[in-house]
Subunit: 256 residues, 2 copies
């Protein structure tokens, strides 16, 4: 049985897209069938994998509004076992259009029905907001992976995200668990990073991933070539960190 | 006559809050009466200036819904000429509540009526979305300052932001201009940064600010002490960059 993992944090620029792309690519490189769904109207996951903007190609917006079935929206990528549901800026409209719709928080969950039989991992990239798109992802997901920068503003927003997750667990998705918190762009040389990491360790215990992702320019360069880091520069510290993170996430699942 | 500057970019984590706080503080340090308005439910501008969370204190949400007048919401800060309208997580509700309201895009503009006579600069910190909160800020503003990281995903989102600004200029706020684009967390040693900066220069011409803000750990540390960088470490490269940016913005206005 597959697992649906939402990559979410309303704080902007913490590495959600970079984590979604590179984690999914690392699963696929380990010969594990993986689906990546771009739930952000910015569609950085889509362009980060080299797909040009194309509003007519079926995308996440069409899934949510019921205008296309899942199979019509799934695209192959350069990695044999990695598949993508792209997004487009039309997804901005979904936040307003979904408000009036029936089962508005379950639209993604319903659209992904049966997907766990075909993919071992489904990774959902979320926008920087606790809006109806992120809500849909958290209702569809089994677990949520929280990328965090070890900085003050990022720390500030964690309690709000955890409140939201707790509220969703009470009503919309009782099975939702925290997959883990992963430190991104981590520079162990700064005091600030060490202090924040210590606070997170205190707060999250073993939910804080053992793998940390260092700041590594290769991770920022790879999307401009339309490739995950392991296809752009597999020996880079960034690519290696995400391969380790994928192993850690796969091992967590094995025991449950 | 004062000027209202919205600091906006839907891309997350590009330095909107860091720019809003430190630009406003630099204006105030130059003995210029300045008002800073936190339009983001994350309320990082509010906590970055040392204000604790307090849902009962009048804030931007109350301004937008008409529950409080501007004077009731304005708070003094550590800098004599810097004043703050704080925000709170209740502001998330405004995105839905404003939809049904009359003049929903003009709520902030109306609430700030007369503010240009009392403050030379009013700086609006926006959330990482092109939502009704950012829309309200762009309708209230005279100009928009766009913080940009010199990275691929940040470049991707610029055309969408410019489309939005053009649409607002056609209908809701014909006087809206681009104040400038300021490169943040800039590391001139990387090829990626140089390539993106060259593309931005091509695209924006003299709208690209001469001042760039380097990556500087002091800027990330300052908010955990509740202070702008110039009160935390005035000799730091980060504080100096924002003092230069304030001078550049003040000089631009002088000629108009
Ligand atoms: N470990 C890293 N090292 C260096 N650069 C990184 C790293 N992780 C992400 N980046 C870069 O930092 C920027 C922010 O990352 P990213 O866009 O993945 O964050 P995000 O949380 O998805 O942002 P948003 O909130 O806008 O969706 C991007 O330009 C990305 O290329
Ligand atoms: N020039 C800089 N040097 C080092 N760190 C910086 C710099 N500018 C911002 N930061 C840090 O980078 C992170 C992102 O900046 P900031 O929160 O200001 O961006 P933002 O655009 O307001 O994010 P959001 O989209 O969530 O509102 C913060 O932790 C901040 O402290
Ligand atoms: Mg993203
Ligand atoms: Mg901000």
């Amino acid at each position: 049985m597959g697992r649906i993992i939402a990559v979410a944090n309303q704080k902007g620029g913490v590495g959600k897209t970079t984590t979604a792309i590179n984690l999914a690519a690392s699963f696929a490189a380990a010969e594990v069938e993986t689906l990546l769904v771009d739930c952000d109207p910015q569609s950085n996951t889509t362009s980060g994998l080299g797909f040009a903007r194309d509003p007519d190609r079926p995308n996440t917006y069409h899934l949510l509004t019921g205008a296309a079935a899942l199979d019509a929206a799934i695209q192959p990528t350069e990695l044999e076992q990695l598949w993508l549901v792209p997004s487009n800026r039309n997804l901005i409209g979904a936040n307003l259009e979904l408000v009036e719709m029936d089962r508005r928080e379950y639209r993604l969950r319903d659209a992904l029905d049966g997907v766990r039989e075909r993919y071992r991992f489904v990774v959902l990239d979320c926008p920087p907001a606790l809006d109806l798109l992120t809500l849909n992802a958290l209702v569809a997901a089994d677990t949520v992976l929280i990328p965090m920068q070890a900085e003050y503003f990022a720390l500030e927003g964690v309690s709000e995200l955890l409140d939201t997750i707790a509220r969703i667990r009470e009503s919309l998705n009782p099975a939702l668990e925290v997959e883990g918190v992963v430190l991104t762009m981590y520079d162990e040389r700064t005091n600030l990073a060490q202090q924040v990491a210590a606070e997170l360790k205190n707060f999250f215990g073993d939910k804080l991933c053992a793998t940390t992702v260092p700041r590594n320019i290769r991770l920022a360069e790879a999307p401009s070539h339309g490739k995950p880091a392991l296809l752009y520069d597999v020996r880079s510290r960034g690519a290696e960190a995400y391969i380790r993170l994928a192993k850690e996430v796969m091992a967590r699942g094995a025991s449950s």
